[in-house]
């Protein structure tokens, strides 16, 4: 492509003068492991159905309350004397506030208070708060607003209708300022979004990974180089439950009790303590049933802080529940990466290098939820599944007049952007070389014997067998036959495409030496208590939002201790009772808290051995573990079950040994885990309307050992659908004034059951060598892997016409226009 079509070129030309490094260059250095890991196709089951340990298709324990309408989501919490809060939002994306007049609002029956930024300032500088990326963000503005729908002030009233009436009556006068929506324009620093900062620039940070010189060298000697600009547009997680809170500050006890849509209640408690000055032991956050999170419930939004302040000010419980438009217009977004990528190959068609320049549009604050050393998240995983000599990645963050972000969208810290880029580039290279995209991938994959594999950007992939996954997907879909069909159809002018994506995920953040959020290390925790009758309660620092932790964690404990999963109560989300943890996002629950469950259970098993030896009057060395019991080696009829041992722990514990049977583990993973998979998508394109019809989609996932196949299938189906969504439908669109044009579900299109294909899934199992139960995490792999499979299929259908790339979402309008541009008129 010509440089004219490369907007990122400006970044390099700007050079160091305009783009100073503000973040230490960081190349991750994960821990080593050297086991060679075999791949299988069968789920490992070692416990009987009565125990229901790992590998059983156990029906979910949490479901009975949900299918009967008896879950408890935040909006279901109702307290005596509870008030409601609603928010006045800005109609401008950038404007000075000249006046806020609440006098008419306060006359509305039921309205008790209007809280402004000035009030928050008086209350102890609460009008600003830190983001999870150590940037700052306004809670309520005093001088100016910086994005459309920004929170301006809040109204507190006796019911939600009165609060909404009050919002209508607040008069705010604005003096509009020039708006910068385009991140490339923002880099010119003509309009400064954040003039509160010392440096008057919209440039936030510069970050690099890989080896620049080695990469330049590889490109100089390349036989073939391909280059492509692509935009991964702004999207929104749009969980069906929006965000909300009930805050109840009790003046008598000084305790603040909060019900909150939180994926990370412990981290949020710490943030609230640091921001508000309320001692942390006087804050209790309860994250009840959560109606989907996907990353959108990780940040602290201004509404939460205002709700807490409203309770403190009024002395009564206050509820705040966003409506859908507020959710889509003001909450954290995902993606919005502008990427120029170059890939180099040698004369044999082997990929040798990757060079990537990226501009990250963060909106009005860097409010991403990445580990703090990783301003672009784990984007440097972008060499993907391919063995290459060198890579260099540079990313710059920039402010614009759009809502702050960006969080993930069911994705582990910018991995989706990385995977989309590498999988598109791989396809472009294969096509340019005239090679079949599947054969090209098989030739360039990291080979099984290369694991643990050190990537050019410093990652150590724990295990993988990429060839097995792609070959299975090809077999399932009948790849060769499809290619024959495509060739035949092409002669008749019919447009059919086959797209492949062979992705590598990186999840389970993460090892404490590199991974923290606001300084808090990214371990996670489990605490297991066995009751005298052999039943158990287990509490975790994570928080399910639908992933099924109440079932899968119980199965891990059942696997390790033989206590039936039915007999293990799993609790999460109450900071007064659960051990500290960083929460659930980025597919980290199984890699971290799931590991903690296994390790804590093993601690209990070790103590159980001491008790069993005492009860059986043998040496501990004479005992061996079998499913649910310690038994005498060679004489299994002499045994004590875990239930016998639990009872003895409280009624007849050995002298010199503490009573009770419980354990806690804070698991600090030695490395991340690297799930992977190969997806193949077949599309037919309607030449009349430009509509892309997904005929088949086969997904082969490898997430290591499987805890519950039913839950894993559900996670994959859901993830694929959230991969389909941005590929074909979803995009947050702004006009030149920074107005959000996609603020309802009538404009922001989520796929329904009609648009969603019948997903066909397969699996390979390559355990993680360093994880206690060999699991890797799965919730986000399909979201990461699906979009490029779909995009590659569409481009594959149109390549012979001269189409090289289409940005997602691939809407009928885009395809229709491309078809017309290339002479297809019906």
């Amino acid at each position: 492509m010509s440089d004219q079509l490369d907007p990122l070129r400006a970044l390099d030309e700007a050079g160091e003068r305009h783009l100073p490094d503000r973040v230490e260059r960081h190349t991750p250095k994960p821990a080593g492991s050297s086991a060679i890991v075999e791949t299988s196709h069968e789920v490992r089951v070692t416990t009987p159905a009565t125990v229901c340990g790992m590998g059983h298709r156990m029906k979910r324990k949490e479901d009975p309350r949900f299918i009967q309408g008896r879950g408890t989501y935040v909006d279901d919490v109702k307290l005596p004397g509870m008030l409601y809060m609603d928010i006045v939002r800005s109609p401008y994306a950038h404007a000075r506030i000249t006046k806020i007049d609440a006098s008419e609002a306060l006359k509305v029956p039921g309205v008790l208070a209007v809280i402004t930024g000035e009030d928050l300032k008086q209350a102890g500088n609460l009008h600003w708060m830190p983001t999870l990326m150590s940037d700052t963000q306004m809670v309520l503005p005093i001088e100016k607003v910086v994005y459309y729908a920004q929170e301006v002030c809040v109204v507190v009233a006796t019911d939600r209708y009165a609060a909404a009436d009050g919002v209508e009556k607040v008069v705010v006068e604005y003096d509009p300022l020039p708006v910068v929506v385009d991140p490339f324009e923002a880099l010119k620093d003509e309009t400064i979004v954040r003039d509160d900062k010392e440096l008057k620039t919209n440039h936030i940070w510069h970050w690099e990974a890989g080896d620049r010189e080695a990469t330049e060298h590889v490109f100089r000697s390349a036989a073939k180089v391909v280059k492509q600009y692509m935009h991964i547009p702004r999207i929104h997680v749009a969980s069906i439950e929006t965000c909300g809170m009930v805050a109840d500050f009790n003046k008598a006890t000084g305790k603040l009790k909060i019900w909150m849509t939180s994926q990370a209640p412990h981290a949020h408690r710490t943030v609230f303590a640091l921001v508000s000055g309320i001692p942390e032991h006087k804050i209790q956050i309860i994250s009840p049933d959560i109606g989907g999170g996907f990353g959108g419930k990780v940040p602290v939004y201004p509404g939460y802080v205002c709700c807490v302040v409203a309770s403190i000010v009024t002395g009564r419980p206050v509820k705040w529940i966003e409506d859908r438009s507020e959710n889509l217009q003001a909450d954290s977004f995902a993606r919005d990466y502008h990427i120029t990528a170059e890939m180099a190959a040698d004369a044999d068609g082997r990929i040798t290098g990757l060079r990537v320049r990226t501009l990250a549009d963060n909106g009005a604050a860097d409010a991403a939820a990445n580990p703090s050393k990783f301003p672009a998240g784990l984007y440097s995983i972008c060499t993907g599944s391919y063995d290459m000599r060198a890579a260099h990645i540079a990313v710059d963050g920039v402010y614009t007049n759009k809502p702050p972000g960006g969080v993930a969208y069911r994705c582990s810290f910018r991995v989706t952007e990385a995977v989309h880029m590498i999988e598109r580039m791989t396809d472009i290279m294969a096509h340019e070389l005239g090679e079949d995209p599947a054969a090209f991938r098989l030739k360039n994959f990291i080979r099984p014997e290369q694991f643990p594999y050190r990537s050019p950007t410093g990652w150590e992939y724990d295990s993988g067998n990429y060839h097995a996954a792609l070959k299975l997907a090809m077999e399932m879909i009948g790849y060769e036959e499809l290619r024959r069909e495509q060739a035949e159809k092409r002669t008749r002018g019919e447009l059919m495409g086959i797209g492949i994506s062979s992705f590598t995920e990186v999840v389970g953040a993460g090892p404490s030496r590199d991974y923290d959020i606001l300084g808090i290390k990214m371990f996670d925790s489990a605490e297991i208590r066995i009751h005298p009758t052999g039943k158990a309660i287990a509490r975790f620092g994570t928080k399910s939002q639908g992933q099924g932790h109440e079932t899968t964690y119980a199965q891990i404990i059942a696997e390790e201790l033989g206590i039936p999963a039915e007999h293990v109560e799993v609790e999460e989300g109450d900071t007064d009772t659960a051990p500290y943890g960083l929460g659930t996002y980025a597919s980290r629950s199984t890699p971290t808290a799931g590991a903690a469950a296994a390790v804590a259970a093993r601690k209990i098993r070790a103590k159980a051995r001491t008790i069993a030896a005492y009860l059986l009057e043998v040496s501990e060395d004479d005992l061996e573990w079998s499913v649910d019991r310690w038994q005498v080696k060679g004489s299994p009829e002499q045994h004590k079950t875990i239930q016998d041992i639990a009872f003895a722990a409280y009624t007849n514990h050995p002298p010199g040994v503490e009573a009770g049977l419980e354990a806690t583990d804070y698991y600090d993973p030695p490395n991340l885990t690297f799930p992977f998979g190969s997806y193949i998508c077949v599309v037919d394109i309607d030449t009349g309307t430009g509509e892309v019809k997904i005929r088949r989609f086969v997904a082969v996932d490898d997430c290591g050992n499987i805890i519950n196949p039913l839950v894993v299938e559900g996670q994959i189906h859901g993830g694929l659908t959230m991969g389909l969504a941005p590929a074909l439908f979803e995009e947050i669109v702004y006009d030149e004034n920074g107005q959000n044009l996609t603020g309802t579900f009538m404009d922001y299109l989520l796929p329904t059951a009609v648009e969603t294909p019948k997903w066909e899934i397969g699996k390979t199992i390559t355990p993680s060598p360093h994880h206690p139960i060999g699991a890797k995490g799965v919730g986000e792999s399909p979201t990461v892997g699906a979009p490029p499979a779909i995009a590659n299929a569409v481009v594959d259908a149109l390549w012979h016409l001269g189409v090289r790339h289409i940005d997602i979402p691939i809407t009928p309008q885009k395809v229709w226009k491309l078809l017309r541009d290339h002479g297809i008129t019906e």
Partner: protein, 164 residues
């Protein structure tokens, strides 16, 4: 704002309540009748989380005023189970037709109305039948299976009740 006395039958129980003219049916169900199984997801009739059955038809209760339901018979998720789970509830549990559970009550109520009209729907008919209900977690495959499970079970029950 005018207030009105209305009477409605919800899950077999008669309620006589005072409500403002502007109160949405979903708010009356959730906040006055304390039946919080019906959820709110979008305010624009797009997501279907608030679906209840009014006089036999699945409707989105976020887009109906409570006063419009005066005299109506309403079924919500809480009224579905009898002595045991309803076949739809059973199907959703058996087939893993839910994850976060937030869309589930609305999805089940839409499915109930669908099966009342069409006891033996094809997969395509099921997909169109629930296209007014958004689910962000499941990808719909297992929801379709759950409804197929329930349809089969309901047909079987009917055959047993009315022998040929």
């Amino acid at each position: 704002m005018s207030t009105h006395q209305i009477t409605l039958t919800v899950n077999g129980a008669s309620h006589s309540v005072q409500t403002e003219a502007r109160t949405l049916l979903v708010h009356l169900i959730r906040e006055q009748l304390n039946l919080t199984g019906t959820h709110i997801g979008c305010d624009t009739s797009s997501c279907g989380a608030c679906t209840v059955i009014v006089n036999g038809r699945a409707i989105k209760s976020c887009t109906m005023f409570a006063v419009q339901a005066d005299g109506a018979t309403i079924e919500t998720i809480e009224g579905l189970a009898g002595a045991g789970l309803h076949p739809l509830q059973e199907g959703f549990w058996e087939k893993h037709g839910l994850q976060c559970g937030y869309c589930t009550p609305g999805m089940i109520m839409s499915a109930k109305a669908l099966l009342a009209q069409n006891p033996n729907p094809s997969e395509e008919e099921i997909r169109y039948g629930i296209s007014g209900n958004l689910c962000r977690c499941t990808g719909y495959v297992k929801i379709v299976e759950a409804i197929q499970y329930a349809a089969a079970k309901l047909r079987e029950q009917q055959t047993q009740e009315v022998p040929a």
